[in-house]
């Protein structure tokens, strides 16, 4: 029976009209035949027939396809109403668009990072990231190759387990050496990720640990495009890495950047391509613990089952090689979206909270637009009442009023979609250039579009349906006969209005408090003393270790650099290090005091850095006891180290650490000094023990650290040139002031405070305009009443107090509720704060005062207007 909607609908409508016309014509003809005049017959027939439009309406309902026409009619009606009040329409659309955009932007960032942890990989939901031992916020690679191989071969819960080691290296052979990011990977790396080569092939199982005279390499898409001009015949060709010839066997497809979330890899080689890392491949502890491991769970296997399975295997390994597995060895698994390796560990603590904030903004905006809508509906109550008495039923009215909200939110959603396509790409702005190849950005895909659609629909319902249902309640007869004084929307509307205003204040208060806390955190971070002096310091990385130089060549070049850079005018101190603090990287190693037998499950990991003489001097880190390194602490001298206070306390509490010895990598190092504690990773870290070793004894990477007079950035070209004068083929990169490098440590605080600040500002504006709107509206409604009050002798102050008290009561209730809400919300962000408590009284009090003062001002304006009216004109006004 159902026809295609609207097909023939117009024709049937016309036919119904003709049918009714015929009916009337026949009735008139009959009456004329009975002797009535044409005019009176026409009138009588029409009277007898009744309401033609209504008959048509009810009849059309019987066709069962009227909904489409109704929808069209409601839509046209809504558009007409919205056009009539452009101020409201534009304001409401703009507010909704901003609120939806806030949500979709944060969601697009989550979507582009946490929800897409490994671009190009198949079903990343099945992938888990393995940790061994104590769970750590920023762990170092946790597995040795032999342990990894045992886990891979003896587990039952995994379809595959891969291992990789992220590093950088120099691409030589071209005009200029180029630093690229490389990963040593297990042979099943691409297989487990579910990635097929664009060209050539990936690694074979027998190649995994086999050194080759000419090793194989897989190129990343962008490197293939930029460095090798997308050569379609690249497979089989020989290129040069760190002055070794290698053969290209394949190219990864576009978008594939490796398995570490948020970090880019440019090319891939096997675990020991040259046979120079045999030690790493054949040991289970110390420097041989170098691999990050990711597993793909078999279908139907839960993460807990997977962890249990691996734990069993690991226990057997520990039992077989107890000396290599001192400390805690339990295996834990993380889904990739919060994998602690790479960027997601940081993002997972930040972005969901920001999304929650954005959701609060959306709710707040919904409440605000609902307030405006309700006020509009109340002022349209006469129109609504007339339409009701003309036969519109309540459901119809509500449908039409809701349609106005839906139209607003659809337009707002479309605007938000446009805005988000731009804002989703702004995430990368927050991450300054640094030595890590961070590739974080938002993405705009179908999930974001669905998110926008859902949130705009929800908010449309909220700001349309609620006021519409309320407004349609008004009994038509009373509205029509009543005068304005008695119908200021009725007490139910008044309650709803008050409720909406209270909700807006209650929602904006926690936003303001959180943003206050974040902003003060940011200021505290900027002013904090990290324990070292980073101004006037320039650092430059020299890729000696990754450019294929022999060890002896390296040492010669290092000394040449030291001599020549020191001689530059304006350079005060030149030193070396292989680590820069507060760049989100660190190196960890097990360290045991001489003769100490560790308890089972005891982890004695320390951070370590290798620094040259005058390192502490140039960073102003005081040596509290003993001495700094000297040029004599070289490879011929006994191994020495300097511990920081935390390490000294851990290993030799209450004793003098000088002269004590620590065993690291199986060698004994003698403590020659104690340095004051300084920040390693983040300002709000809990201090980890740190040992400094002599750069000329065990230094690996070469970072030149220069203390300059004046702006260190000005010295960058001179330092780079000086190094290139020694050898033009030396790769020099990451030349930048230390203050620039350490910015990455506070970038998440910047994201948090920037967004929370923006959201709070929106919240404040909405809350204040909300309370202003409602108080102004109610005051206007009571003009008549105020006129009478003043005519009867009430003073202006009395009326002023009346209005202000009303506004203050609303604000007070909102603030009280908001404080309760804020207590819950600030607990969520406590972890992200620095130098300030989650319930910091100064922040709370100043925010409450700010909100209170703004609310007062918002109430004062309409109150002031009310008392300035002439009572006589006020009484006349209805």
């Amino acid at each position: 029976m159902k026809r295609f909607p609207s097909f023939g609908f117009q024709r049937r409508k016309r036919e119904l009209q003709e049918e009714i016309d015929a009916h009337l014509q026949m009735a008139i003809a009959d009456r004329v035949a009975r002797g009535e005049t044409a005019e009176s017959a026409r009138q009588a027939a029409a009277r007898e027939f009744g309401n033609i439009l209504l008959v048509q309406d009810v009849t059309r309902d019987m066709w069962g396809q009227a909904w489409l026409e109704q929808l069209g009619r409601d839509l046209r009606y809504a558009l007409r109403q919205l056009r009539k009040s452009p101020g409201f329409s534009i304001t409401a659309t703009a507010m909704l668009a901003v609120a939806i955009c806030a949500n979709s932007t944060v969601f697009s960032w989550i979507d582009g990072t946490m929800l897409r942890p490994i671009p190009g990989a198949r079903n990343t939901g099945d992938l888990v990231s393995l940790q061994r031992g104590e769970r750590n916020f920023s762990p170092t690679p946790p597995f040795s190759y032999l342990d990894y191989r045992d886990l891979r071969e003896q587990n039952r819960a995994f379809a595959g387990i891969l291992a990789y080691h992220h590093d950088w290296i120099t691409l030589t052979g071209g005009a200029h050496p180029e630093r690229v990011y490389i990963a040593n990977v297990s042979s099943n790396y691409f297989d487990v990720l579910g990635i097929k080569p664009l060209l050539g092939r990936f690694f074979l199982a027998e190649e995994e640990s086999r050194p080759d005279a000419v090793p194989n390499v897989v190129l990343g898409y962008s490197l293939w495009k930029t460095r090798f001009a997308a050569d379609p015949a690249i497979v089989g060709k020989s290129i040069e890495i760190a002055r070794h010839p290698v053969t290209v066997i394949g190219v990864a497809p576009e978008g594939v950047v490796g398995a570490m979330p948020g970090i880019r890899e440019d090319l891939w080689v096997t675990l020991d391509p040259l046979g120079t890392e045999v030690w790493r491949m054949t040991h289970r502890s110390g420097g041989a613990v170098w691999l990050n491991v990711i597993g793909r769970l078999r279908p139907g296997v839960s993460r807990a089952q997977g962890a249990q399975d691996l734990d069993t295997v690991m226990r057997n390994i520990v039992a077989a090689y107890p000396d290599d597995h001192l400390g805690e060895n339990r295996i834990t698994l993380d889904p990739m979206w919060r994998s602690p390796f790479g960027a997601n560990g940081y993002l997972a603590t930040t972005l969901p909270i920001l999304l929650a904030f954005a959701a609060v903004v959306l709710l707040l905006t919904g409440a605000n637009v609902a307030t405006l809508t309700l006020v509009r509906f109340v002022s349209r109550r006469r129109e609504l009442a007339i339409r009701q008495s003309l036969g519109a039923n309540r459901v119809q009215l509500v449908r039409q009023l809701v349609m106005e909200g839906v139209v607003l939110s659809i337009v707002a959603g479309a605007v938000a979609l446009l805005l988000t396509s731009w804002t989703s790409k702004t995430f990368a702005w927050f991450f300054p250039a640094n030595s890590n190849p961070v590739i974080l950005n938002g993405s705009m895909d179908h999930k974001v579009v669905i998110g926008i659609a859902v949130s705009s629909l929800l908010v449309g319902m909220l700001c349309g349906a609620l006021p519409a249902w309320r407004s349609s309640h008004a009994p038509a007869a009373e509205v029509l006969k009543a005068e304005s004084a008695s119908i200021s929307g009725g007490s139910r509307n008044r309650k709803l209005l008050s409720g909406l205003v209270v909700a807006q204040i209650a929602l904006s208060l926690p936003l303001l408090i959180c943003s206050g806390l974040f902003l003060r955190t940011l200021r505290n971070l900027a002013n904090a003393n990290p324990g070292f002096e980073q101004d006037h310091i320039l650092t430059a990385t020299v890729g000696l270790n990754i450019a294929g130089y022999s060890h002896d060549e390296e040492q010669v070049i290092r000394h040449k650099i030291l001599d020549r850079v020191s001689a530059l005018p304006g350079v005060k101190v030149t030193s070396f290090t292989d680590w820069i603090p507060m760049t989100l990287s660190h190196k960890g190693e097990d360290a045991y005091p001489e003769g100490y037998v560790p308890h089972p499950h005891e982890s004695l990991q320390v951070y370590h850095a290798e620094v040259a003489p005058r390192y502490f001097e140039s960073l102003h880190i005081p040596i509290l006891e003993g001495r700094e390194f000297t040029p004599d602490d070289d490879e011929k001298a006994p191994r020495v180290l300097i511990v920081d206070q935390t390490a000294a306390r851990r290993y030799w509490p209450g004793q003098d650490p000088l002269g004590k010895r620590l065993r690291i990598w199986g060698h004994l190092f003698t403590v020659v000094g104690v340095a004051r504690n300084s920040t390693h990773m983040l300002m709000n870290e809990s201090p980890e023990p740190m040992v400094y070793m002599s750069f000329f004894q065990v230094g690996y990477e070469t970072i030149v650290q220069v203390k300059t007079e004046g702006n260190p950035a000005d010295f960058a070209p001179a330092v780079e040139n000086t190094i290139h004068e020694i050898d033009p083929q030396l790769p020099v990169f990451d030349v930048r002031p230390m203050r620039e490098s350490t910015q990455i440590a506070s970038s998440f605080a910047v994201v948090e405070s920037a967004l929370a600040g923006m959201f709070a500002l929106i919240g404040l504006v909405l809350a204040v305009t909300g309370i202003y709107g409602v108080v102004a509206y109610r005051t206007q409604m009571r003009t008549h009443e105020f006129g009478i009050r003043m005519a009867l002798g009430a003073s202006r102050v009395d009326v002023l107090r009346l209005v202000l008290l009303q506004g203050l009561w609303l604000a007070g209730t909102g603030v009280a509720l908001g404080l309760a809400f804020a207590l819950g919300l600030t607990r969520l962000i406590a972890r992200l704060l620095y130098g300030i408590g989650a319930n910091d009284p100064i922040t709370v009090v100043s925010v409450v005062m700010l909100l209170g003062a703004m609310s007062m001002a918002a109430c004062y304006l309409p109150a002031h207007r009310a008392v300035r009216r002439n009572p006589v004109t006020a009484i006349r006004e209805l």
Partner: protein, 121 residues
């Protein structure tokens, strides 16, 4: 207060009977809407006054249910009008409606006419 609701209520109240009356009227031959109103009024001796607001929705619903068919024709007075004709399905419906109606009348009657000698209509 609400005219449309009232129409709808009336249709529902009369649903069974109005459908039956329309179908019965069409038994005597095809007829247009106005004709049906007139026929019902005449046959009931001016007692049954069918509202157009009930008639047309009912006619269109009956057509949708397949109980009547309609076509446009010239009336005797050269007026183009939509004529409704009862279908075979409609006739079956009419007899079942009639049966139900008789049972209702009988049932109501047996309640009302407990003492037949006192009964007045």
């Amino acid at each position: 207060m609400n005219e449309k609701d009232q129409y709808k209520n009336r249709i529902e109240l009369l649903q069974g009977t109005l459908d039956m009356l329309i179908l019965q009227t069409l038994q005597w031959g095809q007829q247009h809407g106005y004709g049906i109103v007139q026929a019902l009024r005449l046959r009931s001796g001016d007692v049954l006054q069918v509202e157009t607001g009930s008639l047309y929705p009912a006619l269109h619903r009956l057509e949708r249910q397949g109980w009547v068919q309609s076509e446009w024709k010239q009336s005797e007075s050269k007026q183009k009008a939509r004529y409704y004709r009862i279908t075979a399905k409609g006739k079956k419906q009419l007899s079942s409606d009639l049966g139900r109606w008789e049972r209702i009348v009988e049932a109501i009657g047996s309640v009302m006419y407990v003492k037949p000698e006192e009964s007045e209509s």
